[in-house]
Amino acid sequence: MKTLMLGNDAVARGLYEAGVSVASSYPGTPSTEITEVLATFGEVYSEWAPNEKVALEVALGASIGGRRSFCGMKHVGLNVAADPLFTASYTGVGAGLVIAVADDPGMHSSQNEQDSRHYAVAAKLPMLEPSDSAECFEFAKYAFELSERFDTPVILRMCTRVAHSQSVVETGERVLPPIIPYKKDIAKYVMMPGNAKRKHPLVEQRTRDLVELAETSPLNRAELGECREIGVIASGTAYQYVREVLGEGASVLKLGLVNPLPEKLIRDFAAAVDTLIVVEELDPVIETHVKSLGLECRGKDMFPLCDEFTQNLIAKVFAEHSTSDNCQLSTVNSQLELAEPIPARPPVMCAGCPHRGMFYTLMKNKVTVLGDIGCYTLGAAAPLSSIDTTICMGASISGLHGFTHAEGNEAAENAVAVIGDSTFMHSGVTGLINIAYNGGAATVLILDNSITGMTGHQQNPTTGLNIKGDPAGKIDLEALCRAIGINRVRVVDPYNLAECDEAVREEIAADEPSVIISRRPCALLKTVKAKPALCVSAEKCKSCKSCMKIGCPAISMKDGKAAIDGTLCVGCGVCTQLCKFDAIEGVQA
């Protein structure tokens, strides 16, 4: 059947048809939908794990146990899962193991722009890179076959534009592979030094075998056209942009297996064209390989290292460097322009977001805030501007411990860590253990909105529901913090500003470690009923703009008076607590 599918849906469909039995992942844009879609298939055991390391170990365990398994994550998640990744390369698999990692060139929803291909090179693992949904589907299916044939985990490299683009896919039926019974094999699966030492040469031989495959695999194809003045090597979205710009007549070596890379195929292609150009987003991984073969090629001297590519960018670069009139090149149209600047529209905390009240409290008390990864990172935006650092999952709590130990650091006297419920489960809890164990006195705020918000509402160990929305084990955050050794644990409602203020002041002043759990479910959850919208009495409003300090998108100044947008307001009432003139009232007509 022909269907228009998101790249991530297509990966899930391919995995499903290839007989995947177990999927364990941690959500992360742009990878999340793969596992969400797998969870809709009754035959697949799927779960959200607390973090990517756990997820990959679950998937590896299932693979050793003899079932085709899957683990998905975003690029920075692979940093967390790197530990099992490198050794899984040595053990190899029982049944097939596929790992999807989604890069985010252009950083649409990420804190860095790392290129995951380096992991495939470093861990010596085969990596497939699809360039549209049809390839997502085919490559995902094929990845299991490859995994079992070469006894290796296989990485499927996605990127935002492939993961979140829809194109046409021809789907089929699920075919269950023969069951691979578990076989005890200490030499294969127990990676103590003696065994690992014997394994390493096998990994190197596997790479040589995979290079042989790369030479002849239909995933890598030299598409020689009429234009031979230039020959382009590309994979993933870059291939699509190149075809768009250079047309059908161009000569392109399209790579689907991006690690290990072929040698002879590249040499033959280089010999058939005048100038070899590698077009790749982010780092010069293919270019470095081509140059290591002693071939002349161009690449990052023409194309940027930073940001994602577009067809115009590629057309402009080729136009600048083109030496020939024989090769077709799409033209870049002139652009319409407005004379005046257009105000930016950055993402904001939603109206009624439970994080807002707590960030207002932190701003008011001039607290230094070590932040973390989630919706609440938006607390760094004006007018709240109350986050000082954001590094990676969990870094708020551990970073705060270090920050308080930086000698002569006066800001440490009035500093807290801020972390969400899901991120705390992911890797915040270890930082809190460190504080308790090493006698710190830091204050940690867990912003518990009862969901993983930024990635689009995934359940986590604190919500009491599993990936399918069924009842599940529920971590008691208060009990967990106490068990770690934190005596001062209190819960506040972030819609109550006085309560937040009191808690923040008291806990920062305390000379022992403390945890404030700021608890209220995300205002966008379907289970949360919005209250009637509030409105401003133009008579009572003195235009003092106190209500504007919380940066609520529903409040603006209209004709000199504060006004509330009734289509956005959910009646949280935080603004009413800021108005000295009781001008914000009642139900909006």
Binding site: H108, Q166, S167, Q311, L336, E337, P343, R345, M349, M548
Partner: protein, 190 residues
């Protein structure tokens, strides 16, 4: 080979551009075209400026629409139409809701919402069809149906039979909202 056509759907995160792009995707795929639709998820959805690309033709390569390429820009909000103006092809058409949603720099008073954007976009060379889609959506029964009102208006510019649109609506919109959205579509078309 026919040229690839480019549509952009722009608006403020949360306004329903994903459903609109999926409706167009289904409509065009049913029509036998190769189709690519590119969406934005995650951080950018939180009340920020969002853009979705829909491309169709005999063979579509890039999933993106770039500056100077859009045949149509469908906009949920006036400022967003203006923001993406440079993506319009010379002679391209903007179909926009006249609703104004203040962005944070306007809310905080750091800057003002630009005035007379319709006239300015027209002066810059765009064909502009601006109308109050929010009022029509509300009339249909929900302010959230702006996306389908816009689709109704857009249907006037595409050479695609009405029953094809109805089929795509049935494919894309959840059953319980179908009647409301069909009404919204008809109101937009008028």
């Amino acid at each position: 080979m026919s040229e690839t056509k480019n549509i952009m759907i722009v608006g403020v995160g949360g306004q329903g551009s994903l459903l609109a792009s999926r409706l167009l995707g289904n409509l065009l795929m049913n029509g036998g075209y190769d189709v690519k639709v590119s969406e934005v998820h995650g951080m950018s959805q939180r009340g920020g400026s969002v853009v979705t690309y829909v491309r169709y033709g005999d063979k579509v390569y890039s999933p993106l629409v770039d500056e100077g390429q859009a045949d149509y820009i469908l906009s949920f909000e006036l400022l967003e139409a203006a923001r993406w103006l440079s993506y319009l092809k010379p002679g391209g058409r903007i179909i926009t809701n006249t609703q104004k949603v203040d962005p944070m720099p306007v809310i905080t008073g750091a800057t003002e919402y630009p005035a007379d954007l319709e006239a300015k976009m027209t002066a810059a060379g765009a064909e502009v069809d601006a109308f109050d889609a929010l009022a029509l959506a509300t009339e249909a029964g929900s302010s959230k149906a702006v996306n389908i009102v816009l689709m109704g208006r857009f249907s006037k510019y595409l050479d695609i039979a009405d029953d094809e649109w109805q089929k795509a609506l049935e494919q894309t919109v959840p059953a319980r909202f179908l009647e409301l959205n069909k009404t919204a579509f008809e109101l937009g078309k008028k």
